[in-house]
Each structure stands twice: as C-alpha cells, then as structure tokens.
C-alpha cells in the first residue's frame, strides 16, 4: 500500500510544481490585449480574404479597435450588417456603404473576338500578360486563363466555356476585390450593386481607335461618343476612346444601351427586357425634336438679331 501512496504523492508533487511553473511563465509572458479585439473578431465573417486591406479578420479587428473612427475600415464581405455590429461594440458611428459587386468589363467572347494566335505556355493570365498582348487582336481584353477564378475565395467566379469569359455569381460575390487585383488587364471593377441589383456598364476597356477596336472585337467600345450624347444625366464620359458610365449619376434609363452601335453597353438585374428598337426610335424622335427646337430657337434669335441690327444702323 505504501508504494501506491508514495507514487501518488510524488506524481501530485510533480504536477503541482509544473502547474506552478506554467502559471509563472504565463504571468511573465502575459500579453495584455484589448478584449474588444476578440469581440470584434467574433462578429467578423472569418473569411480572412484580405478584402478590407488587412492581413485577415483579426488584423482588421485590431486596426478597427485602434482607429479613431471607422471611416477607413470597412469589411466588404460582411457589409453594412457586420459594420453595424462592429460599430456597436466600439461605440463608433458607421456610414452605410452601397453594396458592391464585381463586374467583368470585357465582352470579347469567342464569337465576338477572333483569335489570331494560340497560347502554348503555363495557363495563367499573369504569365500570358507578361509575354504578349493576348491571343486576339485586342491588347486590352480578357486573356481567359482564369486568374480571377483562382483568386476568388468564395466561388463566385467561373469561366464560361462557351464565351471564354469569367462570369460573376452575384449571390456569392462579396466584393472583396481579390479578382480586381488578380486580373493583369484590370478588367474587373467593383461597382455598386444598384437599386434592386439593376446596373448598366460599358463592357469593354479597349483603348484603340474605333476601326482598330472594331476589327479586333465585334463588341468593342469604339469610343464614338453616341452614348455620351444620348445620356441626359451626364453620367457617361469618353476618354482614351473608351466610354465610362458613372454609377452614381446613372439613372438606369438604358437609353445608351439602345443607342450603342456595337452593343458594348450591358445591363443586369432589370425585370423587363429592353425593347431596343422602340427605345431607339423614341430617342431619335426626341433628338429630332430637340434639334428642330434648337433650330427654331436659333432662327428666332437670329431673326431677333437681324431685327435689332437695322435698328441700330438707323
């Protein structure tokens, strides 16, 4: 019996000593952390995608706790809901941000953009982009190797085998921005989702002059500027032979889509399909009327001028 007791005593003693050592070490190397960091981290999505600009959700939480306000810290994945929770924990105000979604700005599908050569190296857009302009005559379009698909942690992107272009699954996209960084041609843009998911954008980034762009791709923006002239909200600007629609100014009237000669402007999320012909006819009618009105006005002015002239001479 004695042996058992001795054994128990010795083992207990060892246990006690080790526990003491552990306690002392833990005390000595204790790291004092703001408990709010843990709380904030708990409400984060936990994807560690880096979309906020920090290395992961914990890094974001640390930065958010340290920051004087939340203006520069925004979790695109969690969106406004998460940020409201973070703000509640930290006692900050948070500005609501419009939800964003990734939009691919190239419509150079296999049908629209004939290939002029074949790529035979490692299947990566980045490798391809450092080597040459791409396997079509368009030096600005999608290279089709799917770097964006590989970069997406949420499975929101996939390559459409028919068009050879990436497709965004709106329900999965968190607007973390990983794909925008992965695309060597900078074709993916984060745009506001728009009211009820309705949005309009120019599906091209070809900066070549009209004829060259048109030759390379049937659906290219040729920088003709018709859309800019059509738009009544001054939402469209043309620079470097390429049109851009400002999502803040766009009123979703879709008139530009009807007027675009190459079909480079795309829409998404509209419940009713656009009747292009009718809209175009309506716009042309309106423009004709405007021209007539302007001409009439000009005629009135010039006649007034003419009327006034002889009076002065007199």
């Amino acid at each position: 019996m004695n042996t058992i007791w001795t054994t128990i005593a010795i083992i207990s003693l060892i246990g006690l000593v080790l526990a003491l050592v552990l306690y002392l070490v833990a005390e000595k190397f204790k790291v004092v952390e703001d408990p709010r960091i843990d709380e904030v981290e708990k409400v984060m999505p936990g994807a560690n995608c880096g979309g906020c600009g920090f290395a992961g959700c914990r890094a974001f939480a640390e930065a958010a706790v340290k920051a004087p306000n939340l203006d520069n810290n925004f979790c695109p994945v969690g969106g406004n809901d998460t940020m409201a929770k973070v703000a509640a924990i930290l006692g900050y105000e948070v500005k609501e941000k419009a939800p964003m979604v990734a939009v691919v700005r190239c419509n150079g599908s296999c049908a629209n953009r004939p290939t002029v050569n074949t790529y035979g190296g490692f299947a990566s857009c980045r490798v391809k982009a450092t080597l040459y302009s791409g396997d079509t005559a368009c030096a600005f379009g999608c290279l089709g190797c799917g770097d964006c698909v590989a970069a997406c942690q949420f499975g929101a992107l996939s390559m459409d085998p028919e068009t050879g272009l990436p497709v965004v699954d709106e329900t999965k996209c968190t607007a973390c921005g990983a794909c925008t960084k992965a695309c060597p041609k900078a074709l993916i843009e984060l745009r506001a989702k728009g009211p009820r998911g309705m949005r309009v954008w120019v599906d091209c980034r070809n900066k070549d002059k009209g004829p060259a762009a048109k030759k390379a791709c049937a659906a290219a923006c040729i920088g003709c500027g018709i859309c800019a002239k059509t738009c009544r909200h001054e939402a469209i600007t043309v620079a470097d032979n390429i049109a851009y629609i400002d999502p803040d100014k766009c009123k979703l009237c879709r008139e530009c889509i009807a007027m675009c000669p190459t079909g480079a402007i795309h829409e998404s999320g509209f419940p009713k399909p656009l009747d292009k012909e009718a809209t175009k006819a309506r716009i042309l009618e309106r423009q004709k009327k405007e021209r007539e009105e302007a001409a009439a006005k000009a005629a009135v002015i010039s006649s007034e001028v003419e009327k006034s002239k002889p009076q002065e001479e007199k």
């Binding site: 290939t115 002029v116 050569n117 074949t118 790529y119 035979g120 190296g121 490692f122 490798v127 080597l131 040459y132 396997d135």
Partner: protein, 322 residues
C-alpha cells in the same frame, strides 16, 4: 496563320519522367535475367507478379479511388514492382508478393500523394513490411537450382549473424565463400543479391546515361568499406572483412538502385554524400550489432526520413553570393 506563342525556352531536352524510369528498368534487366537463369521459373513468377500487381494497384487506386487519369504510363510503378520483386526470395508465395505490392504502392506511394510525394522508397517499405510480417519466409533462402545439390539454408549474412549470436568466430563462415563467386553469383539470397556484376553493370549504364549521379552509391560503398575495415582491424574474429560486406546481402542493389531513387534521395551532391555516408554507417551498425542479419533496407528507410532536412541544409552555392 494561327501562330503559337509561348514563353521561352522553345525547345526541350530528351528527358521525360517516362524515359528516365525506362532507363532504370533497362538497368535492372541484366540482374533480373541473371536471377531468372539461376533460380528458374519461380523467380520469374515472383518478378512478374510483383510488377503486374504494382502496376495494377496503381491503376486501381488512381482510377477507382482517386477518380483521376491513371499514372501507370510514367513507368514508375514498373520500377517499384521490379525492385520489390528483386528484393524477395524466389520462394515467396505469389499472394505474399501481392501484399508487398499493395503496401508499396497503396501505403508508401499513393497515400502520400503519388509519384514525387512519397517520403520513403515504396519498394523498400513493401519489402520491410513483408520482412517483419513473415520473417520465416523472408529469411529462409534456397540455393540456386542449377547447383548440383540445391540446399535450403541461409544467406552468408544470416549465417554470420547466427555465428555472432552463438559466439563462434565469423571467419569460419566467411571462409566458405569466395569473393569471385560472390561477385558473379552469390550463394543464396534474393534475386537482387544473386549477381553483383550484373547490378554494377546496370549502375554504370545509369551513370553513363546521366540518369543518376554516382555520388550517393560511391559514398555508401566507401563508408561500408571504411567502417568494416576499422572494426575488422580491431577484431577480425568478431567482425567480417570489408570485401565480404561490400559483396554480400542487398548492399549493391540498395546502393545502386534504392538509395538513388530520385524522390527519396537528396538533390544536391553534398546532401547525397551525407545521405550515402549515413546509409553505409547504419548498414554496418545493424549488420554488426543488430538482431537482423541485413541492414541495408532499414538504413535506407531511416535515411529517407532525413532527406527533407538534407535538402534544406545542403544547398549548392549560389552564383555571386558568399
């Protein structure tokens, strides 16, 4: 014209995984043929079952379990099968060979992720698995059938091992074997141990074809020779002499074909030499002091575990950097 565009280089050397593996098979053929000549049809059966079941298991695992394209075309399973077969006594029953092949391919190779990912040499894992599971079959050797009185007995090494255990001087045993006969046709042993000359021929072929570099093999030989020379010098009654150690057992097969396996050996020359020294030393320690008569398999497997470390430590000098 739709021209092809790809990054440089635009040409490729004649090497491919398949051609390298085929070269190893060619290098093993002389020894395999020798063993079939010496042992007859049962040896041929062991080799055939081993190769076919290795290839078959790899095909089954890649196609049915992993649902991928089969990788048997790269010939690596053939090499594993041939090496495993040459490491087994010709008396091994066919079902036991198949178990060895399953362990080699299924456990040592495919569970790690297939070709290039395995830490240990698959053929050796298969062999050692059989050795510890069925020690009786694996250590009983039958002499070559072509000798007038085919005998059931032991290999030179296991006789020595017994002698050491019984306390009789080893010279009584070693004097029974002439080095010439050991070089040409060993008396007893597995297929790979039967003809040292044929194995060395294959090794020279691999070096000439630049499939492998000779450093690992040579450093194993040198270490075995040196270690046994020292011990033999201390006590020639207890310890066997260097020439006996170099020629006996699976040392030549192990040093030439198993230790030089790409996947499980270090990449740099210095790493290879350290790897070889380790194998040589461990082999001799097991042979002299271990309870198993043969130590090459264990020595190689132990050193396999050090390969990642050796790859990290022994890097070649970079250009223009101190």
């Amino acid at each position: 014209m739709n021209i092809l565009v790809s990054p440089n280089p635009h040409i490729h050397s004649k090497w491919s995984t398949r051609s390298l593996m085929t070269d190893v098979v060619i290098a093993l053929l002389p020894a395999a043929i020798c063993s079939v000549v010496f042992y007859g049809w049962r040896e041929a059966l062991v080799l055939a079952v081993s190769v076919l079941s290795c290839v078959g298991f790899e095909w089954l695992i890649t196609r049915c379990l992993m649902k991928q394209r089969s990788t048997i075309c790269d010939m690596s399973a053939v090499v594993t099968g041939l090496l495993l077969g040459m490491n087994l006594p010709f008396t091994t029953p066919w079902w036991m060979v198949m178990i060895g092949a399953l362990v080699a391919i299924g456990i040592a190779k495919m569970t790690f992720g297939g070709l290039g990912q395995n830490v240990f040499n698959p053929a050796l894992v298969g062999r050692v698995f059989l050795l510890v599971s069925f020690p009786a079959v694996m250590t009983t050797w039958v002499g070559p059938v072509h000798f007038a009185d085919a005998f059931t007995g032991s290999t030179p090494l296991s006789s020595v091992n017994e002698a050491i255990l019984n306390g009789t001087p080893v010279t009584e045993i070693t004097s029974q074997y002439s080095y010439g006969s050991m070089l040409l046709a060993n008396l007893g042993g597995s297929a790979g141990e039967i003809c040292a000359l044929a194995l060395l021929l294959g090794f020279v072929y691999l070096c000439v074809r630049k499939v492998i570099k000779p450093w690992i093999t040579l450093s194993i030989f040198a270490t075995v020779a040196l270690t046994s020379l020292i011990f033999w010098g201390i006590d020639s009654a207890r310890f066997t002499d260097p020439a006996f150690n170099l020629l006996s057992g699976g040392l030549i097969l192990g040093a030439c074909f198993m230790a030089t396996d790409y996947v499980t050996s270090p990449m740099s020359t210095l790493g290879g030499i350290i790897f070889g020294v380790g194998i040589g030393f461990l082999t001799m320690m097991i042979r002299y002091f271990g309870s198993y008569p043969e130590g090459v398999s264990f020595a190689i497997l132990i050193m396999n575990a050090f390969v990642p470390l050796l790859n990290r430590w022994c890097k070649q000098k970079k250009f223009g950097r101190a």
